[in-house]
C-alpha cells in the first residue's frame, strides 16, 4: 500500500451511479434530513441496498449501523471523490445547438465546471455572447489559454461539440494547450495520448438500446 501511486480499481458503474445519489442527498438536505440509510436510497431508485452501500464505500465514508449515513458528510464525500468540490476550468469547442445547450446549462456549476471560453470555426458566430461567454475563433485557442494562464487559470478540460469530421483536429489542438481531459460529444472515437483522460457521450448507443427493445417488444406481440 504505497503512499502515492496506488491505483485502486474502481468499478465504473459505481462511479456512474454516484451523481444520482448526490442529487437525492441534496434534496434530502434541503428537506432538513440529517441522516439517510442506504435502504432508503435503494428504495428510491429500485436497487438493492447492498449495491448502494458498496457504491458509497468507494468514496471512503462510513455510516453507522442502525443509524445510517450523515447527509452532509455523504454529500461532501461524493463531491470530493468526484472532484466536484474543486473548480475545473474548461474550453468548449463547437457552438452549434449542442454546444449552446451545454453553455446554457446552469447545472454544471454544481459540478465545479467552469467553461472559461467557447470557440467555433464559423466567423458568423465570432463575438456572439452565450451565457456570458464570447465565441472566439478556433485559432485563438492557444492564445486564450496563454492569457488565462497568466491569470493563474489552467485549462484542464476540453469539451468537444463539433461535427464528427472536425473532432480529431480540435482534440489535437486542445491536447496542444495541455488539457488533461477531453469530454467528447462528437460521434467518433478520438485518438489521444495515454495521459489524457477521455470520456465520450454516446447518444446513439442509448438510442440503439431503446429502439432495439421497442422493436423486440413489437415482435413479441
Amino acid at each position: 500500500m504505497k503512499a502515492s501511486s496506488r491505483v485502486r480499481n474502481l468499478p465504473t458503474p459505481s462511479v456512474q451511479r454516484l451523481p444520482v445519489y448526490l442529487r437525492f442527498l441534496k434534496e434530502a438536505r434541503r428537506r432538513g434530513d440529517d441522516v439517510v440509510s442506504c435502504t432508503r436510497i435503494a428504495e428510491e431508485f429500485g436497487q438493492r441496498s447492498v449495491q448502494v452501500r458498496k457504491d458509497l464505500a468507494i468514496t471512503g465514508v462510513s455510516g453507522r449501523p442502525k443509524v445510517g449515513y450523515r447527509v452532509d458528510e455523504l454529500i461532501e464525500a461524493i463531491e470530493s471523490f468526484l472532484g466536484w468540490d474543486v473548480k475545473t476550468t474548461a474550453f468548449l469547442v463547437g457552438v452549434g445547438n449542442l454546444g449552446r445547450a451545454l453553455l446554457n446549462y446552469e447545472g454544471f456549476v454544481e459540478h465545479g465546471l467552469d467553461v472559461a471560453a467557447a470557440f467555433d470555426a464559423n466567423p458568423a458566430l465570432f463575438g456572439q455572447e452565450i451565457n456570458g461567454r464570447v465565441v472566439r475563433p478556433l485559432d485563438q485557442i492557444a492564445s486564450t489559454a496563454a492569457r488565462l494562464r497568466e491569470e493563474g487559470r489552467i485549462v484542464e478540460m476540453g469539451i468537444v461539440t463539433v461535427p464528427a469530421r472536425a473532432a480529431q483536429p480540435v482534440a489535437d489542438k486542445l491536447v496542444g494547450i495541455g488539457v488533461r481531459a477531453i469530454w467528447n460529444y462528437a460521434p467518433v472515437r478520438l485518438d489521444l495520448p495515454n495521459d489524457v483522460v477521455y470520456e465520450e457521450v454516446k447518444l446513439s448507443a442509448s438510442f440503439a438500446v431503446l429502439t432495439n427493445r421497442l422493436r423486440r417488444r413489437d415482435a413479441d406481440e
Copy 2:
C-alpha cells in the same frame, strides 16, 4: 424455441457498440469496400476481434471464413436489428437548447427517427419553427397525436428534454397518448408502466467518470 415469445437475453454492451460499427461500415461502403473482417473493425476501435464477432453475431448475420462479412449485408442486418430500417414517429417535449439541438440534428433521420412535433410550456415559443417543426403548447399533445393517428401515423416514442421538475408529468402525458418508448434527457428517473421501454441519457454519469479519473490522475503525481 417457440415461434414468438422467445425473449433472448441480449448483452446490452453489445447492442450499444453496434452503432459504432454501423458508422464505420457505412464509411467502408462509401469507399467501395465489399467485405470487411472483424479483425479490421477491432483494430479500428482498439478492441479484440472476438468481441466484434460476438457483437455482430447477435444481429444474426454470418460471415465467411477467410473472407469476412459482406458490408451491405452487415449494414442491413445491424439496421434491422436496431429497428433503424423502419420509421419511428416521436414527439419531443421541451424546446430548450437541448431539445433544439436534437430537433436540428440531421443524423437521426439515418436512425429512422421522425420527430413529428415539438411541444413546450412556454407561450413565447408557440408557433416558432425549428427545422420544419412548429412548437406547440403542451396541452395539445393529445389532440396532435389524435390528428396524426387519423393520417395513420402512430406516435411511438416520447423524447423528454424538459427540466427535471417537469419530466414526470410530461412523461405521464406521453404515456397517456400511448407511446411505447421514452427517451429521457432530464436528470431524474421516470416512473413508467412496465410495458413502456425506457432509456435515460445520463450526462452527469459520464462527467462523473471523467472528473473522478482526472482527479485521481492528479493525485498520482
